[in-house]
């Protein structure tokens, strides 16, 4: 975090990237992380929680093992997002917006994630799966259940994916 604070022109402007540091490491931002941010960046507690509640990607509660985010905006809708969601709901036994009891999967509907021509699509952290069908979805779910994150086309761009 200190390196980030060095680079940014003011301490407060380093707040977002510092929150990302916590998100990447912990998966959510617990209260003591907020204490750390308040101290290091000299911002008020209110400011930190404003950001945590305003931005959808920042979370204040522990997350599921795999959060499946399916786009339900207009292009993906036209290309079949809703039937896909219904299919996933059936496979996981949960409704949209909920988590499986074993905390393995959470299913969220999200707004446009920038893969409209390749819809319906699903985001799992830094993995974006495009051109989905029910069959492809089943393959993904089975793989995840085995603890393996299946390869997404976008993996070619990330360091972990072998860029």
């Amino acid at each position: 975090m200190d390196a980030l604070i060095e680079r940014y022109p003011t301490k407060a402007s380093a707040l977002m990237p510092c929150i990302w540091v916590v998100m990447d490491e912990v998966g959510y931002v617990p209260s003591d992380a907020v204490d750390l941010l308040v101290e290091k960046l000299e911002v008020s507690r209110a400011r930190v929680y404003e950001l945590l509640s305003f931005y959808t990607m920042f979370r204040t509660e522990p997350q599921a093992e795999h959060t499946l985010q399916v786009c339900h905006n207009i292009s993906c809708h036209i290309m079949g997002a809703r039937p896909l969601i219904a299919h996933i709901e059936k496979r996981l036994g949960i409704r949209l917006g909920k988590r499986t009891p074993d905390n393995m999967f959470a299913l969220e509907g999200v707004e446009c994630i920038g893969a409209c021509g390749m819809g319906p699509c699903l985001q799992l952290g830094k993995h974006l799966y495009e051109d989905l069908t029910n069959e492809k979805m089943d393959v993904i779910l089975d793989s995840l259940r085995k603890g393996i994150v299946p390869r997404a086309d976008t993996d070619r761009l990330t360091v972990e994916g072998g860029a």
Binding site: M79, K126, G161
Partner: protein
């Protein structure tokens, strides 16, 4: 017409090596930067870009060179933000630019910063494009290593630092002052204007915010000249535009076309027309916030700023959505109204309450609780929203809402007429 001659922005799309510095340089990359650093002054660059007729490619279409010209020449500190917050529904073109040709954007950024005398630039990438950040950061690192970034670039005395900044999930951060506030560590809520960013933006200093695509066009313009750019396109719309096309067409994807191409030509010759079994019903030409066109209207229109203005819509982001006959327009507008309700930052009352209200009315309508007054009520709500807010999100919700009703009114009326069976728990078709 073949699009091969129009690869200003997209020459390296689809390749697996175009993002590398070595490849970019071998193909003429950074020549424009070298030309600028050795032979041009900031004012010259601004003039060239003004002359070229390049307009903001993120959605607003404001002439880029003119925007640069607003920055006070004697400002002590100027900031530059590359807006890669691509979140407009239907839009997926900036990701391609950063994916396949990040150096083009970086070169464009450096030249742009030189033009406005900025020594610190942020590339604001939406949080959901987290998978893209490594590629962009690697390219930035390569540029530093090669001396294209950092202190005394190419011996010119010009310094530039670039920070890759990740968003965290808020469409409103694509609005330029929302983006600036987000980088400052605040919520990404737009600021009241005046003051305008070119005078008082990031940390109260002059700030320029440009879309990725706008910035990416700059190297070509410097290399080939403003006249060459102006020569492409139509009378009032110079150059090429990336259109990201989605919907049930044979060839969805990202296309670079000369502005002014008739939609019919684009649709038939390049998009391949509709897939088997579907007919064209409507087209949203430039991202969900622009008024919709019927199929007939779309077939009459050219894809440039002036032609689209004339028919009551606009070019926007170039996020084209093709809507088939099988689509239920009320269902689609519910999807869009949910989007604006979700993404409204909540600062100003007409938008905060209006987006929620519109969504609620449509949702109830689809639940079978619509009333005969609803269409008038929707218009009443729209009047309390349009043109009355700090930023244009309010208008962005109003325009599709009004145009869907204007052009597909019978579908709304039909739905209001019929009542959904009582106890129908679900709106959405359940796939079985």
């Amino acid at each position: 017409m073949s699009l091969e001659q129009y690869k200003i922005l997209s020459s390296r799309f689809g390749r697996d090596d175009g993002h590398k510095l070595s490849v970019y340089e071998a193909e003429g990359g950074y020549t424009a930067l070298k030309k600028v650093m050795s032979t041009m002054k900031p004012g010259d660059v601004i003039e060239e870009v003004k002359e070229s007729g390049l307009r903001g490619r993120g959605g607003a279409g404001f002439p880029t060179g003119v925007k640069w010209g607003f920055v006070p020449k004697d400002a002590a500190q100027v900031y530059f933000m590359v807006n890669a917050d691509e979140s407009e529904p239907g839009t997926f073109k900036d990701r391609y630019l950063m994916d396949y040709d990040p150096h083009q954007t970086i070169e464009g950024t450096i030249i742009s910063c030189f033009a406005v005398n900025s020594s610190l630039a942020f590339i604001y990438i939406r949080g959901e494009f987290g998978w893209l950040v490594d590629r962009v950061q690697t390219a930035v690192d390569e540029a530093y290593a090669a001396g294209y970034l950092g202190k005394n670039i190419l011996g010119s005395g010009f310094d530039l630092e670039v920070i890759v900044h990740k968003g965290a999930g808020a469409y409103i951060c694509g609005e330029e002052t929302g983006l600036i506030n987000s980088v400052e560590g605040l919520k990404g809520q737009p600021s009241i204007k005046p003051p305008f960013p070119a005078i008082e933006g990031f940390l109260k200093q002059p700030t320029v915010v440009n879309n990725v695509e706008s910035v990416a066009a700059v190297p070509w313009i410097i290399n080939n000249g403003a006249a060459a750019y102006k020569n492409i396109g139509s009378e009032k719309s110079a150059g090429t535009k990336l259109f990201s096309v989605s919907g049930p067409i044979k060839n969805p994807g990202v296309y670079e076309i000369p502005l002014g191409m008739p939609f019919s030509e684009f649709f038939n010759d390049h998009l391949g027309g509709m897939v088997e079994g579907e007919t064209l019903k409507a087209v949203i030409v430039g991202g969900s916030s622009v008024p919709i066109l019927t199929a007939e209207e779309a077939m009459q229109v050219n894809l440039d700023y002036e032609s689209l203005d004339e028919v009551g819509t606009f070019l926007g982001s170039g996020g084209m959505i093709i809507i088939p006959e099988s689509s239920d327009m009320v269902e689609l507008i519910q999807v869009l109204m949910h989007f604006y309700f979700d993404e409204s930052c909540g600062q100003c009352t007409p938008c905060r309450e209006g987006t929620g209200w519109l969504h609620q009315i449509i949702k109830k309508m689809r639940h079978g609780e619509g009333t005969a007054d609803d269409l008038d009520l929707i218009e009443h709500v729209c009047q309390g929203m349009a043109g009355l807010t700090i930023c244009a999100l309010s208008d962005a919700a109003v325009m599709p809402m009004r145009s869907f009703i204007e052009k597909f009114r019978p579908e709304f009326e039909a739905l209001i007429q019929e009542t959904a069976p009582a106890g129908n728990a679900s709106l959405w078709p359940r796939g079985e």
